[in-house]
């Protein structure tokens, strides 16, 4: 799965959980500062991503995912099959 595809899927998840318009969800955006996605919504997004991609995002790693791009890169590196 390409980074663009991960971004598109992740944007759907963020939209469903936090109500952020899909079009606003671009790699450079900060979840907290730009999209108003708080730490609890981040946990819900992480668990949804874990279910979707069969990966594990520990709390310590989750705290370092500040931007949408951080999350996309993390999911890509976590071994999402193409």
């Amino acid at each position: 799965m390409s980074q663009e595809e991960i971004l598109a899927e992740l944007a759907q998840i963020v939209n469903e959980i936090a109500g952020v318009p899909v079009g606003d969800i671009t790699p450079e955006k900060s979840f907290l500062d730009d999209l108003d996605v708080d730490s609890l919504s981040m946990v819900e997004i992480a668990t949804a991503a874990e279910d979707k991609w069969g990966i594990r995002i520990p709390d310590d790693d989750l705290k370092n995912l500040k931007t949408v791009g951080d999350a996309v890169n993390y999911i890509a590196k976590a071994g999402v099959a193409a």
Partner: protein, 319 residues
Amino acid sequence: MKTPPITHSRIVAIGEHRPAATLSNDDLAARGVDTSDEWIRTRTGIQRRHIAGPDETVISMGADAAAKALANAGLSGNDIDLVVLATCSIARPIPGGSARIASGIGAAGVGAFDVNAACGGFCYALSVASDAIRVGNAQRAVVIGSEKLTDFIDWPDRGTSILFGDGAAAVVVERSDEPGVGPVAWGSDGDNFATVCIPDGDWAIRMDGPAVFRWATTKMAPVAARACELAGVELSDLAAFVPHQANVRIIDAMVRALKLPDSVVVARDIATTGNTSAASVPLALASLVNAGTVASGELALLLAFGAGLTYAGQVVRVP
């Protein structure tokens, strides 16, 4: 040797004690907590919480709730033979509070013990008391959840100070010809005790909010489903779901994960009560009963969870 035949048990009445003093979100900000009404509401669903005064203790609040439950049942202390107190915030660990509550409600001399399973405590205590009645070790019990958590709150720590409140609620449980308290689904996770605890050398409750949130939102819905399965009840049979009142967003996530039918009323007492640990489930049930939102004899699913980590849940018939 002989043992008596096993019967059923049921909850016959409920009583509550909510401290008169309240603390709004704006009050917290005025106390110097770095927060705002909007911040607290959006992250927790809490608008205000009740705060015990200097003369209100785990024991006094618990005794008042127990006396009210007995009065609501048309009973007195002479009519009970077991008192079980769920609490994790009693001022000193020795002695526990149950015997003093028994004396305070006119039931001096009865069996009495405390249960500390933190926020999970009430459902543990209810299960143990219910089973004591079912096997004949007691005829009628008072089960109390009472907490004065503000004794263990470091007000500048907004990760905890915005969440917790004080209060107590109690139920009267007695023998019954029909099932009224279902089998308990319970468990624990001691590996993750540090996510919510009073750390070594500290005096206040500290919490890793996101870690607890993740645990609750991913692990508790299956426990709720298991409690229903054990009781032979479908979710659509329930009149109410009364989860521990930790955070409205945990409650909402559990409701989604369970695919709870819209017909089931969900307790959201947290808005005006905050998190009262072992008192939260019975206080939330009392709110529904007192408002007439649920009727006597209807089914409610109780689910308590928290520090330990511990959890317990069961289906009950509403008193």
